[in-house]
C-alpha cells in the first residue's frame, strides 16, 4: 500500500474518534475552539530562544488525552507526520545563528540550536492540540462552531467541502499514481514532467467534479444559502469553567516562567 493511502485512511479513524461520548466530547465546540486558539497564541508568541517556559504547556494535551481516553499512540503518530515540516523550517538556524548563548559543561551552545529546538517544541505542542481538538469534536462541528463565532459562512462551507472531498481527491490521486507506478517498471518516483501532468489532470478532474456537485446542489433547490441542522450546543457553566480555567493558566504560564520560578523556589529553600 502506498504511504499516502495509509495516512488518509487514518483520517477516517480521527472521524470515528470524534463520535465518542465523553464529557470532553460533549462540551460545546466553541469552548474547545477558543481554548485551543488561546493555547496556540500563547505558545507561538514566546521569544525564539524559549524552551523551558513552554514545557508546562504539555499539561493541556496530556490532561485531555487522559481524560477522554484518546489513543495516545495514534495521536503521537499524527504529530510525527507534522514534525518533519517544522524541522525543515528550523534546520538552517544553527548554520546562520552561531552566537553562543549558553554553556553546558564544556560545550558552547549556539543560539541556532536553541531556536531550532524551540521550533520543534512549538510544532509538537500546536499540532497535538489541533489533532486532539479534531478528535474530540469532529471537523464539521468545528466548522459550525467557527461560524457561530463569527467566521463568514463562505469560509465555513469551503472548509466543509475541503474535508468532504479530500477523501475523493486522494482516492483519485492514489489511483493515478498506482497506474503510473505499475507501468514504470521499478523506476522510483515521478519525473517533474510526469508530476506536472498528473497534478494538472487532477485539477481538471476536480474542476469537472465541482461542476457536477454544483449541478446536484441546484437540482435540490440550492440558492446560495447554506442551511445546516447540526446539534445546537449550549455555552453553559461547564464550558465557561473549562475555557476560563485553561485560558487563565495559559496566560499565567506565558507571563511567568514556571519552571524557573519553581527552580528558584527550590534553590531559595535550599540556601
Amino acid at each position: 500500500m502506498l504511504a499516502i493511502d495509509g495516512t488518509f485512511l487514518d483520517f477516517k479513524q480521527l472521524d470515528l474518534l470524534a463520535t465518542q461520548h465523553t464529557a470532553l466530547h460533549r462540551l460545546d465546540p466553541r469552548a474547545k475552539v477558543l481554548t485551543t486558539a488561546c493555547f496556540v497564541l500563547c505558545v507561538v508568541s514566546f521569544d525564539r530562544y524559549t524552551i523551558s517556559a513552554m514545557l508546562p504547556y504539555l499539561l493541556y494535551p496530556a490532561v485531555l488525552i487522559a481524560a477522554s481516553g484518546l489513543p495516545f499512540g495514534y495521536i503521537l503518530r499524527k504529530i510525527l507526520i507534522v514534525i518533519p515540516f517544522a524541522l525543515v523550517i528550523g534546520i538552517f538556524n544553527p548554520v546562520f545563528d552561531r552566537q553562543v548563548i549558553m554553556h553546558v559543561g564544556e560545550f558552547a551552545i549556539w543560539g541556532g540550536w536553541v531556536s531550532c529546538a524551540s521550533i520543534l517544541i512549538r510544532a509538537t505542542l500546536t499540532a497535538s492540540v489541533a489533532i486532539i481538538l479534531v478528535a474530540l469534536t469532529g471537523f464539521p462541528v468545528i466548522c459550525a462552531a467557527l461560524e457561530k463565532l463569527g467566521m463568514p459562512k463562505a469560509f465555513a462551507v469551503q472548509l466543509l467541502f475541503l474535508y468532504r472531498y479530500i477523501f475523493v481527491l486522494t482516492d483519485e490521486g492514489v489511483r493515478t499514481i498506482r497506474a503510473c507506478q505499475l507501468r514504470s517498471f521499478g523506476r522510483r518516483g515521478l519525473s517533474l514532467r510526469q508530476f506536472g501532468s498528473l497534478v494538472g489532470h487532477l485539477l481538471l478532474r476536480t474542476w469537472d467534479r465541482a461542476e457536477r456537485i454544483h449541478m446536484a446542489m441546484l437540482a435540490r433547490g440550492f440558492s446560495g444559502e447554506f442551511h445546516t441542522t447540526g446539534p445546537q450546543g449550549r455555552f453553559g457553566s461547564k464550558e465557561l469553567i473549562f475555557m476560563g480555567g485553561w485560558s487563565a493558566l495559559f496566560i499565567v504560564l506565558r507571563l511567568y516562567n514556571a519552571p524557573q520560578l519553581l527552580g528558584g523556589l527550590f534553590a531559595g529553600s535550599l540556601s
Partner: protein, 273 residues
C-alpha cells in the same frame, strides 16, 4: 392539475463548441409511466436529462413539466417536482453526514426543522437506510451511497424521478436492491441506462436516442425485439432475451472466436428444452 407528466417539444441543444447534442427531440411521458432512455455513449442522454430540470437551457424547443412551461421564473418549482439522481453518488452526497445530505433539499425549500426531520426519516426509510443517518458519506459502501443518493431526492417529495444509470457500478445484490426500490415507486420515472436487463424489468416504455435524435419510442419489448434497430443504434438485446449459450452456441459469440461454453455435456446447463 397534474405535475406528473413531462413533455418535450422539438428540443434542440447545441454546445458552445458547435456540437449538436440534441436535435428536434419530442416525446410525452404521462402520469406514473416508467420510461427508459437508452442509446450509445454520446447519444445525448445526459444532455437530455439536464434539460428536464432546467440545468441547461434549450437552444430551441421547449420542456413542459406538469402544466408549466419550463422558464427561468419557475426553476425552483420545477426542480422540486423533478428529482434527479445523478450517476456518481459522490457528486450527490456532499454534506458531512447522511442526515444533513437528505435534509439539504427540504431545508432549501424552507421547511421547519421538525418537518425536515420527519421528511428525512421517511425518505431514508423508503430506501432502508435509516440506520446510516449519522454516518459520513465516505464511510458508506457503493450500494449504500446509491440508496442514500435516491433518498436525498425523495425527501423533496418529487412527482417525477429522473435517474441517470442507477445500477452502474453496483454488485449484483445491491443492483437487485435498487431495482426493487425503483419498482415499488409510484412516481413517474425516467431512467437512462446501459443495463438493458434492468430496463426490461422496470420500464414498460423505451425511447432510443442516436446522435441526438429519437430513433424509436414504444413498448420496451417491441424495441428489444427489433434487432436491426438495436444494431443501428450500437445496442444489443438484453441478456435475458438472448438465446441460451449452450443450446445455440453460435449466437452469442464474437465471430472468429470459439464459443465460451462447449455445446454439450457441461455441468452448467440447468434447464430442459
Amino acid at each position: 392539475m397534474s405535475h406528473h407528466k413531462v413533455e418535450v417539444r422539438n428540443l434542440q441543444h447545441v454546445y458552445p463548441d458547435g456540437t449538436v447534442a440534441l436535435n428536434d427531440v419530442s416525446f410525452r411521458i404521462h402520469h406514473g409511466e416508467s420510461v427508459a432512455i437508452i442509446g450509445a455513449n454520446g447519444a445525448g442522454k445526459s444532455t437530455l436529462l439536464l434539460h428536464l430540470n432546467g440545468y441547461l437551457s434549450a437552444t430551441s424547443g421547449e420542456v413542459v413539466i406538469g402544466d408549466t412551461l419550463l422558464a427561468r421564473e419557475n426553476l425552483a418549482e420545477v426542480r422540486r417536482t423533478v428529482g434527479i439522481v445523478f450517476q456518481d453518488p459522490d457528486d450527490q452526497l456532499f454534506m458531512p453526514t447522511v442526515f444533513d445530505d437528505v435534509a439539504f433539499g427540504p431545508l432549501n425549500m424552507g421547511l421547519a426543522a421538525t418537518d425536515v426531520e420527519t421528511r428525512v426519516i421517511e425518505a431514508l426509510g423508503m430506501v432502508e437506510a435509516v440506520e446510516l443517518r449519522h454516518k459520513p458519506p465516505y464511510h458508506l459502501s457503493g450500494g449504500e451511497k446509491k440508496r442514500v443518493a435516491i433518498a436525498t431526492v425523495l425527501s423533496m417529495l418529487p412527482d417525477i424521478l429522473v435517474l441517470d444509470e442507477p445500477t452502474n457500478g453496483l454488485d449484483p445484490h445491491a443492483r437487485r436492491q435498487v431495482m426493487a426500490l425503483l419498482q415499488a415507486f409510484h412516481h413517474t420515472r425516467i431512467i437512462t441506462s446501459h443495463d438493458l436487463d434492468m430496463v426490461l424489468e422496470l420500464c414498460e416504455r423505451t425511447i432510443v436516442l442516436q446522435d441526438g435524435q429519437v430513433m424509436a419510442d414504444g413498448p420496451t419489448l417491441d424495441i428489444f425485439k427489433n434487432e436491426e434497430l438495436l444494431h443501428a443504434c450500437r445496442l444489443e438485446k438484453p441478456f435475458a432475451m438472448q438465446a441460451c449459450p449452450v443450446c445455440s452456441p453460435g449466437r452469442r459469440t464474437v465471430p472468429g472466436r470459439k464459443p465460451l461454453v462447449p455445446p454439450h455435456g457441461d455441468g452448467y446447463h440447468d434447464h430442459e428444452h
